[in-house]
């Protein structure tokens, strides 16, 4: 390890960090605009042209709001919980490949921070640690809505983590590596096309696996129709009912970070990551393709949010345990058998 390399990592992490924060701020704006568009309303349009400065106004308002610690809360846990939610949410981005490599300032720069042997397992691990923020927030507030929201949310997250992990195993069987960069490269143009024009993306090999992954990812991120933990009508705001000011913003942000993580994972694992036409000639296009694919997914998530009704809690748990988990195991067995006989 050289100082050069350390500097490169630090700069890359800093840049990605900055871009992510901006993206998250604007996702909250985009989400409200999409909501307005779908429900024939206007959405935020007062602050700046088209309301583009709305996230800035929201941020300032968050900072200057009163910070309340409820009387009967466990003070330390109450303070630590938002940090426990946001730290794991930030950590998974370093292994996601945003693009192939570009030449900048006369040296070749790969568009991912790092790659290692167990990258996918690392993302799963960091994601499973994220459940602590929810549990601690719900418990430490000493509020009935918070506690019930926290319990429901953590039970939901751990249930769907299983089907998420099991659906990924199907991709691993095809790709044969836990390293995300290797998985993306295996889906690239160098491995050829089917029938001359269909790219070798994993979605065509694992359609059922993808559907399981997609549903589990939606439930993992607590989005409608799986947003039981914060079902407004019954639980106020779920596990962060008592939170205010920046601490509320931290939970909000970590949910958006998770959204970006799962959509990037869907892109990387099933839709060829940064692959697309002409990336050999213009490497910068790879970054464009990646961002485009991720945003299509984010849009689909938002679309579903504003068109679907909410599940009942028992339906939610039944879907996870009785449908998605057995389906992913079945998918696994079929995939392994096909590979055994085709290879």
């Amino acid at each position: 390890m050289t100082t050069d390399q350390l500097l490169e990592w630090t700069i890359k992490i800093g840049v990605i960090f900055f871009i992510l924060l901006t993206t998250v701020a604007y996702l909250s704006y985009v989400e409200r605009r999409v909501a307005g568009w779908i429900q024939l309303r206007v959405g935020p349009n007062r602050v700046g042209p088209f309301g583009l400065l709305q996230p800035l106004a929201d941020g300032l308002k968050f900072i200057f709001k009163e910070d309340i610690i409820p009387r009967e809360a466990s003070k330390w846990l109450y303070l630590i919980a938002p940090a426990a939610a946001i730290i794991p949410a930030l950590m998974s981005f370093i292994v996601i490949p945003f693009g192939s490599s570009v030449t900048l300032f006369g040296r070749e720069i790969t568009l991912h921070v790092t790659r290692f042997d167990v990258a996918l397992l690392y993302i799963l691990g960091v994601g499973s640690v994220g459940v602590y923020g929810v549990m601690l927030a719900g418990w430490s507030s000493n509020n009935k809505y918070s506690l019930l929201g926290g319990l429901r949310s953590s039970a939901q997250m751990i249930s769907y983590e299983l089907s998420l992990g099991a659906s990924i195993v199907g991709v691993l069987l095809v790709a044969g590596s836990l390293d995300l960069v290797t998985i993306v490269e295996a889906q690239g143009a160098t491995s050829g096309y089917w029938l001359g024009f269909i790219p070798k993306w994993n979605i065509f090999l694992q359609p059922i696996g993808f559907i399981i992954f997609f549903l589990s990812a939606m439930a993992e991120t607590n989005r409608v129709p799986f947003d039981l933990p914060e079902a407004e009508a019954e639980l106020v705001a779920g596990y962060f009912t008592e939170y205010s000011s920046m601490k509320f913003a931290m939970f909000f942000m970590s949910e958006y970070f998770h959204l970006i993580t799962v959509t990037s994972m869907a892109t990387t694992l099933y839709f060829g990551g940064w692959n697309g036409p002409f990336i050999a000639e213009y490497p910068f296009l790879s970054l464009v393709y990646f961002v485009l694919k991720v945003f299509i997914f984010i849009f689909i998530f938002m679309w579903i949010r504003f068109t679907m009704p909410r599940f009942r809690y028992d339906q939610l748990m039944a879907l996870g345990w009785k449908v998605l988990l057995p389906a992913s195991i079945l998918n696994l067995i079929v995939t392994a058998t096909v590979i055994l006989f085709v290879n």
Binding site: L124, S128, V129
Partner: protein, 169 residues
């Protein structure tokens, strides 16, 4: 450089482990143990056991301790009430026993011959990657692997039988 990292991580691991003993509330003890698990996982990476390091985080920090904290939160046990301690003597036995154990361990450690880590050549599958663990699991360790499957099934049945109320069928 590497030694400095080891010392920092070791101090974190030991401090978190001691905190498990110091805290009176089991919730804080369990949270503190997460620190030890994470520190150990860093050490595993330094020892090149990459796969095991990730499994440590996924299973220990992400599942076992989640279960512990769930139970602590669900039971909401009342504060430890005053009661006659039946085995107070054990407490005083702990310190000398710990001293003995440590002395014994450090005698062994002191006698350990220092060897260098084997160097892995370029292009060769290193020990500790997913590949090496996966191959070993299905060649030399096939029987333990199947036994682990049976063990997990038994644990599943046992836990459900124990935890369900007598009333519901």
């Amino acid at each position: 450089m590497e030694k400095a990292l080891f010392i920092i991580i070791a101090v974190i691991a030991v401090a978190a482990a001691l905190n498990v003993l110091i805290q009176r509330n089991p919730l804080y003890s369990a949270l503190s143990l997460i620190g030890t698990m994470a520190a150990l996982s860093v050490l595993y990476v330094m020892l090149r056991a990459q796969f095991i390091a990730a499994v440590q985080i996924v299973v220990y920090a992400g599942a076992i301790l989640v279960l512990f904290i769930f139970v602590i939160m669900l039971l909401n046990a009342p504060k430890q009430q005053l009661q006659i301690d039946k085995q107070k003597g054990l407490r005083y036995l702990a310190i000398p026993l710990a001293g003995l154990l440590l002395a014994e361990a450090f005698y062994v450690v002191w006698r350990v011959q220092d060897i260098a880590m084997p160097v892995v050549k370029e292009g060769e599958e290193a020990v500790g990657t997913t590949w090496s663990v996966g191959v070993a699991l299905f060649t030399h360790y096939l029987l333990p692997f199947q036994v682990a499957g049976v063990l997990l099934l038994m644990a599943l049945i046992g836990a459900v039988v124990l935890a369900r109320r007598e009333g519901d069928k």
